[in-house]
Symmetry: C2
Subunit: 81 residues, 2 copies
């Protein structure tokens, strides 16, 4: 089973890395770009014999406790098959 976890900085938290990318893109002539925010993305393979509901629970726990910092980040889990 494959899953994807997306971790992004909360909208209320400043993202200087994203702002720098946005300035760089504007400087390169891409004036259409209004804002950029950078996040992380994980492709996770779960052992095939794991039941779907158990996998969903484990992935949610991992995303919350290990892959993201819940104080400043949001996460989203997407189970593919």
């Amino acid at each position: 089973m494959k899953a994807r976890v997306y971790v992004s900085i909360k909208p209320s938290v400043l993202d200087p890395q994203g702002q720098t990318i946005c300035s760089a893109l504007n400087g390169l002539g891409h004036r259409e770009i209004a804002a950029v925010r950078q996040g992380k993305y994980f492709e996770i393979a779960v052992a095939d014999q794991t039941p779907q509901d158990r996998a969903a629970a484990v992935l949610d726990e991992i995303a919350r406790d290990v892959l993201s910092n819940p104080v400043i980040e949001d996460y989203r889990v997407e189970i593919l098959d």
Copy 2:
């Protein structure tokens, strides 16, 4: 208009960061996790007056030339609205 760009390491390229996360998760007791690969994720806001086809072309160019390294990385552009 909002878009998301996902940048992931090509399957043929080693991802030591992902392997380290996978080992750490196994060490924490999450034995169901078979593999992890880490990528980057960008949320991009494009100025509203930009035509859709122009935005798609600009985003593809930015993803290819600025946000990813086409030698070792793949990218995927998703336009939201």
